[in-house]
């Protein structure tokens, strides 16, 4: 860490020499150990030693940013000169603002040291368990890894953060096969602090493998109807949360004025049962975010509470551009408040609808309208799963859906980064052949 501190100090001193009004840098070193499984067989082991420096300077409110991955003095000094040149070529924008110190904090999180033998053992165990319990599943690719990182963030406004972290992650991509029949592919992920239990028991991995195995004989839906859709956690994130963050509450949509929620702060935008917060300090998060890229300390915040829009997801820059308020963090660890009913009970109450595990759709329009293919999905009829579906399209409008929530499950997916339930929405157009 000493060498990284010295490098950070040198960067700030060099930037000041060039007349920067403000400078900040992030200096990091990381090590990754990774195992790959391809086509169901072990294929590769990787060890990566990485470094990274990101330098941002502000001169007369003109901003320049440079990223390099060399630590030698000549390269670092050249990078500072490059950042200054980039800033000189830009245009002044009074909205750039960064955290003011004094603040100095250190954090250690997760499991910084990798137990390589145990990581291999858990990977092998997962592969063998899937072969045994889910024989129809073929692992297209599985990547299991440990990531360790040390980071120093320092700015000329007397702000300094030092972090040391490490975590394990498991990513599986798979589909079910029987003869020439195959299901759509599906991905399961989890981030873990420790490897103290079999990975198949984590997040929703076991449930998702079971569901994909049931998708070998999908039926073709005839015609089209408007009805309820239960979105499983990943489909919920893809359709609803991404649309909201990209278009309605983030910097870009608010700065360029295209957000349809730009005047909705404090107003009802969703059903009162719906609450969405971003909580890097939740016990469900393995590696939380402690400070923003502008140097501000983070805290948990509510985006929507009981259906009411409580905050935008603005950076300080975005806040200054729009006259708004900076959000409590950079909105990575989303948490949706769970409901009282189980998924099974939610299904029981639906006469005809669809359960969507994954969504393959176009980029959502700024209006929140979307359409795409409901992947790994099931038809619900008379309160029961009637069978898997193929080639079924769904379309809807996110802001309208949020006001037509018919249920939120008590079952939640906790993958080490987010906590999401199943949510049932009315008014979805579901079309087959």
């Amino acid at each position: 860490m000493d060498k990284m501190n010295e490098t950070a100090k040198m960067i700030l001193a060099e930037a000041k020499k060039y007349g920067a009004d403000y400078a900040q840098c992030t200096v990091s070193e990381s090590e990754k150990k990774e195992f790959n499984v391809d086509g169901g067989q072990f294929s590769l082991m990787r060890t990566l030693f990485n470094r990274n420096i990101i330098i941002t300077v502000l001169k007369e409110q003109r901003k320049g940013t440079v990223q390099i991955n060399r630590f030698d003095e000549d390269a670092v000094k050249a990078a500072v000169a490059d950042a200054i040149a980039a800033s000189d070529s830009g245009m002044a924008d009074p909205a750039w603002e960064f955290a003011q110190g004094p603040v100095e904090e250190s954090y250690e999180e997760g499991m910084p040291k990798c137990d390589t033998d145990r990581l291999f053992m858990r990977t092998k165990e997962l592969l063998e368990t899937i072969r045994e319990k889910h024989p129809k599943i073929l692992i297209e690719q599985m990547i299991t890894e440990h990531n360790a990182a040390r980071t120093v963030f320092m700015s000329t406004k007397d702000v300094c953060y030092r972090t040391r972290s490490g975590s394990y992650s498991f990513e599986l991509m798979y589909s079910a096969h029987e003869g020439e029949k195959s299901s759509s592919f599906y991905g399961s992920n989890v981030t873990l602090k420790t490897l103290d239990k079999p990975v198949i028991e984590c997040a929703l991995i076991e449930r998702e493998l079971t569901a994909v195995e049931q998708q070998l004989d999908p039926m073709q839906l005839e015609g089209k109807f408007v009805g309820p859709a239960i979105l499983a956690p990943m489909a919920l994130a893809e359709i609803v949360i991404e649309t909201m963050m990209d278009n309605f509450v983030g910097d870009m949509g608010l700065i360029d004025g295209t957000s349809i929620w730009k005047d909705k702060l404090g107003q009802e935008v969703a059903d009162p049962a719906f609450s969405l917060s971003f909580e890097p300090f939740s016990e469900d998060v393995v590696i939380g975010e402690h400070y923003t890229s502008e140097g501000y300390l983070t805290k948990n915040y509510d985006l929507i509470r009981n259906g009411k829009l409580m905050s935008f997801a603005l950076s300080q820059y975005g806040a200054n551009k729009t006259g708004g308020k900076r959000a409590g963090n950079q909105s990575g660890n989303m948490m949706i408040m769970s409901g009282k009913e189980t998924l099974e009970q939610m299904i029981k109450e639906i006469e005809k609808g669809i359960l969507v595990m994954r969504f393959s759709g176009g980029q959502p329009a700024p209006s929140g309208e979307f359409s795409g293919v409901a992947k790994n999905s099931f038809l619900i009829e008379n309160g029961k799963i009637a069978g898997a579906l193929s080639e079924t399209m769904i379309s809807g409008c996110v802001p309208e859906m949020l006001k037509q929530i018919r249920g939120i499950s008590s079952d939640v997916m906790k993958d080490g980064n987010v906590r999401l339930p199943y949510v049932a929405f009315e008014g979805i157009t579901i079309s087959g052949k």
Partner: protein, 461 residues
Amino acid sequence: MLQDLLKEQKAFFKPGVHTELRGQNNRNRRVILVSGDVMANVRSDVSGISARVYRNGVWGFSSMAEYTKDAATTVLKAATENAEFMDRHAGNGKPAFPPLVGGELFKMEAFNDPAQKAYVDFAREIDAYVSAHCPNLSSRKVIATEDSMEKLLKVSDGRDAHILSPRSYIYVFLSAETPAGAPVELFKSFGGSGTFDVNFTDPSVLYAGIDRLYEQLMQKREGVYADAGEKTVILGGMMTGMLSHEAVGHTVEADLVLGGSVAAHNLNKKVASDLVTLTDFAHEAFGETCPLPVFVDDEGTEAKDVTLIKDGILTGYMNSRESALHFGMEPCGNARAWMFSDEPLIRMRNTSVHPGNDKLGDMIASIDDGYYLIESGNGQADTTGEFMFGVTMGYEIKGGKLGRALLDTTISGVAFEMLKTVDMVSDEIVWCSSGFCGKKQPMPVGMGGPALRCKVKIGGR
């Protein structure tokens, strides 16, 4: 430019063990103007070295963010140890690869590095033009960018190489509102292979394209929803490119075939109409240089074209050396890595359907009730061949004539079924190279094709 520090390291390669050593630099320059404000002004240079070693059917890999002889020694040792670990615990005794032709290959294009001011100034000129000539916009965004790769490769057998691959683009995004107040957006990219100073010397060259984009946006804001269901459509060349890449290309990447893609059961079978021939081109297509030419891959295999579909029959897969051995096919240079810290994966290069004999005007005139779909925002496909593309620009076809513009929609289908419905193919090719393909790593790819008349499912409201 990377100096050749790796030559002597070949002496440390273990005899009879396939080994790769790669020094690499990725540079990125990016300026983003949003309604005239500089939102991003970024330069990035990331370099380092990696080694990969193959042993009895398993691989070891290691990389360091340092381009030195010492780093080369370190990663070679670590990659060898990783290969030994894998062999000990999970080796499967697969044989060594058949040897490749050796030699050296150098492709050194002009590799200038313009100052950041060049990107900012050019973007500002484009932004000023949009501001002055495109009224009634709700927002505008201009991005000037270059992302370039330099690779220095040493292999135990095959081609050693030193390759420079620059590419640069201007993206223009325009947004407006429909009469009901709903936002609509369109974008267009300009540029291709080459550094920024080579591709962008005169902003006025882009003005006609921006005018056309604005005209389409104004039509789109008055647009209508597509009528959902299965329709006869004309896919424009950009949409055909997306189809070639997403819906067919990925399913015939040999690693995905081994992972259970639909192509596993369809080799040498009819998967498309007789009018469809599809090739993954290496560096030259239809007598011209490809948008993003590839001459050698990161396993040292000299790049050749791969015919994927010939007159409607599935004829081949794209391979690495390992998968080529498995399938008894010839490796053609598809194993490519994005950063120094990435291992080569099977990737497409420039994937396109071959042109046919029809005129686009005749194709439109042949449809009584359908759609002409021109631009795609993004696309995704399943290993089953089931695909979905976002359609950001298109028109109704009524009575053989273009009608109203469409609001955003999507199309979907199953590639090997939908391709059998192709009954007209235009005689002109459109290429696109500004995007990234996403797999485990991003990768610049070219995709293209002629207009196709076919049947697909279109999403409405």
